[in-house]
Symmetry: D2
Subunit: 348 residues, 4 copies
């Protein structure tokens, strides 16, 4: 189920065809879920900016850190050089290393990369240790490679899947969610897509409705619930943007998270990764010394529509992660219920 | 009028006595408004962290930049040294220099500062050029000093006053707004106060209600309205915090702005200044070379309640700026209406 | 006198025609010096990226902060938007506001700027309070405008002039210095120029020679000398660079400062401002909503030569400021001697 | 051999007992070197802030990025929370993941950490791919654990060892180097230690002597040599410092690198990690909600001596890495000679 099936449609801009990050042409998403026995509830999700050799044809990229209690690998090189050269991998906190190995092995083995000796794997995480026996570090590098090679365009599975298999959001079952927005022609007609791995808390608000208060379930309520946890957010766009304006877009994703009631608590790893798929902005691995990079970019003055689309798509992606998720029992018998969508949004 | 008079009370935490930044003990606010003839609609607002010699007893402070299209003077020294040594002054974009002079002259002339040769004035602004003939640069340094010396504790005037005299927010009259939150005892019992100079746009949302859509007035609506403008936000707390955790609090104020529908557009100067009034955290100007600074601080792990309070207080301060503002006509006959509070929130 | 007149030529790259920031085509420098009575020893220096209307044809720009105990106005907007829209003004610490007014008035009155309501003046400073009665704040906005309109290309006056009139460096008289480097054709053939206002301390080293130790004059020597003070550094280049790579170049200027023995002490305001004069990189004030910015840029991989040139030009500019400076007596009879160049570098 | 054996003693401050990072009480260093067959020339080095359970008794820490073309894992959490909770591990670029696993496994298995579900491994690297067949990714997590558990106080082995086994610096064999400085009593009497993994280029300068030019071997010389490569720098001190002032110290390490002729080229991963061993500054993992962190810190005003010590120790550590290294032949028969110390510094 998705939010729009229940009449929940935050914001004023129109979504794209699949209302998913894959509405940005070329973007592909792959999941691998690991649900084994009573205790293993985890997985990984890979987001590919395009279907070619990403290392040879890097995309402009940026990382914005909403709250840095997290282990995102590869952030400093993206921030320095303004580009992304590998698939983006999301997984659990203690499997970051396997995520790196999977991404590095995939990159080293791609045809054309035989001489490559340095790879900046971009691997984010949230902590699924309530439902998953995270200390087992169950994911293998081969799982990561599987998520990468299975990535495809079209509709994206949401909820208890991939890196969202074992996550919890606002006290309900969270997971993977996605959404998109298309700007009106007069604002450039660009598409902005968001994908989230939701695993955080606060005071839940859905398109303005104060559900956290309504259900009596929110951070610091009787000092019982914790707001901790994290949210990894990926923003894709076909607008031709350089790293600086991508970072500004990434920053706005946190405003979308705020609208769902997130508070970016101390223990949160809230990281946003943004990239542009515009072919004119690709950064070739090798460039002769007298070649310049020719780039036609959206000017600062025309960024506000993209900012607004980022906020809306992020808000809806988080909500979608809650609508799509289902009840789950896991590690040590811990149980997390899905948001009671049918009750809260009864169909007429 | 204030939001709570109409039943609008965002969030789940309790406000302080005056529901104002001055609920943080020691904090004082002073306004100077300049409404002259048909064209001058501007002013300044000064916020004092305490009533003593601020230069001699600096307070820990931080600046977070939500979007940097603005002219905040003094930010880099606060970020480097982690302290604030002057009153915080808010005014219009083209009167930043007069703000600096007023603040520097005030500081140089304070008893005890006779040998001072370096002063870091902290002066922020938003652009009131729609209602105010801003190119006249009408404020004098003496106006700024007046705002500083008139500062007082207790209730804070809101709306078309001080630095908010000529500002516009979501297409309605904006201005000064303030609010506060008191943490429950188990979370430390600290107070957090916010004061805003609201002058920005987006898609107005008041405590979850989608007023922008309801009234058909929001950014990019028919590509007519602009989302540009800015918001200066001041956060005060009596919690003993150092600069790093104050900066983290400041960052959360943008989440409060997001909940009102702000999008931090390209042309926005969205700056947040945060400080702690805790006496144990004061930084004396002179310290002998064998003295250490002794500071008892809130640990990272106990920051989340303060983050949540910051979000709530900022959201309500912005809403209060709209509820308190009144219709205004100014420069070139430009007219801005106040939010039609009575119509939108009819009393039973 | 200049360092090369005495055989001092740091680095391995060749200087430009004037060995000055003005070797970067289009760059102009203007000084105004105020030496009045016994106590006033100050001034201002303006650096113009090009001779046209800078506000209408902004240049890509960046600010890097080596140590932020300083009052540089305008830094946050440059960092957010990646461009510079006014002359760069250097002056003394307590005349920052007059620098802003002079720069704002100049910009507002330029033909074509009649409707401009927002100006980001970029004004840096160091503290000349040992030789100058700085609390008098002697500079007027008219002085600043004078420095701007008098700016010209060609050789640049160094030493006790403009913003360097009253500054002190490594215990000797400092001031304005400049130098440049031209990259070999195979590295792009670009020019990099540096201009400094030197006013800092440490352990003086000139092209490897440990002069501080030789002369027994350096920071913490008998705990007498202070290393405090500041250095404003301006880097210009004709290489087509965007804000991100300009910031990386700016960062390298601090490596040049390090080679002279600077330590970026706690009290230093060490700010570097970098810009590109490449016409293809200009950012027009107005752009229709369907226009993209077309920019041909140097790729990351080809930046290292520009980094090295920045280091060398900065090092030599600082040394030049010392070679050109002359003895000065000022405020309260304070006396600062010039570096005894003739003794240290006897001509054969 | 060490620099001081040849009369090379950069700076004016005195070194500590071992002239090593281990002069900072409690700091321990462990190496593991892997030299196998013709092609494997790599290793890892672990630096432990203290001998206890680091996760339970975290140390204040900071990361400063001189140039971010590198894969340092764990940086964002250190920057957000201001503390370090694991040993610092240095290794080669493509073994970062094994570094993380080794550090995470070590931490999870420490007595007292049985419930820990989140570990921020801090693992840096430089690229030893010229002498080492880096694509083999030869290090195993067990190697990393070995480096950690073998760590000890006292003299530190330098040159071709640990993470420095296969690195190259200024065209000569580089490797591990270390040095320290003790501040005079009047400046606090603190110790500052540096350890480097040197693997970068530029124009070599040793204590002011222009060796790069002398030997005709430097970056861009005939466009043959490359300046790329990286330098990992670790700074330890017993001065009681919080994260903000540790970051400022870390920033100064780049000034020390500059004095050796480094230029922080585009391809450099120049990362500095700084921490304080002061017991009064430890950050316990668990703190009850009404406890504050009590910390006696060095004030900003007394930081400059520590800055100078950082610059000197870093410069000498890099020089020591060159003096200690020896000729090496490795991958594909590549050969790198050691700096010809005996020739350059003939003993009388």
């Amino acid at each position: 189920a998705r939010a729009r099936d229940y009449g929940v449609s935050p914001g004023v801009m129109a979504p794209g065809n699949w209302n998913a990050i894959t509405d940005v042409k070329g973007v592909m998403v792959g999941h691998i879920s690991l649900v084994e026995g009573d205790n293993i509830r985890t997985g990984a999700t890979a987001i590919l900016p395009h279907g070619g050799n990403i290392f040879q044809q890097k995309v402009p990229g940026a990382v914005y850190i909403g709250n840095g209690f997290g282990k995102l690998a590869g952030s400093s090189q993206v921030q320095e050089l303004g580009n992304i050269e590998t698939p983006i991998v999301l997984t659990n906190t203690l499997n970051i290393a396997e995520g790196i190995i999977g991404s590095v092995e995939y990159t080293l083995s791609e045809p054309g990369n035989e001489q490559v000796k340095s790879v900046n794997a971009l691997v984010g995480e949230t902590n699924d240790g309530y439902l998953n026996d995270i200390r087992q570090r169950s994911l293998r590098p081969s799982h990561i490679r599987q998520a990468i090679v299975q990535a495809k365009s079209g509709p994206v599975e949401e909820g208890n899947i991939g890196a969202g298999t074992g996550t919890v959001c606002f006290g309900f079952k969270g997971g993977i969610g996605t959404a998109s927005r298309v700007l009106p022609k007069q604002l450039g007609g660009y598409t902005v897509g968001a994908l989230v791995q939701s695993n955080f808390g606060g005071v839940l608000q859905i398109d303005g409705r104060a559900l956290g208060e309504e259900l009596g379930q929110y951070a610091f309520h009787q000092q019982l619930e914790s707001a901790d946890g994290s949210c990894m957010i990926i923003i894709a766009t076909d607008a031709p943007l350089g790293a600086r304006n991508l970072e500004r877009m990434a920053k706005r994703a946190m405003l979308g998270l705020a609208k769902t009631g997130g508070i970016a608590s101390n223990g949160s790893g809230d990281y946003v990764i943004a990239f542009s798929t515009a072919e004119s902005m690709r950064i070739p691995y090798s460039l002769s010394s007298d070649e310049l990079l020719t780039q036609d970019q959206v000017a600062n003055d025309h960024m506000s529509g993209l900012f607004m689309a980022t906020i809306e798509a992020t808000e809806e992606a988080i909500i979608n992660s809650l609508f799509a998720a289902e009840d789950m029992t896991g590690f040590q018998g811990n149980k997390v219920r899905a948001l009671p969508v049918e009750t809260l949004y009864p169909k007429p």
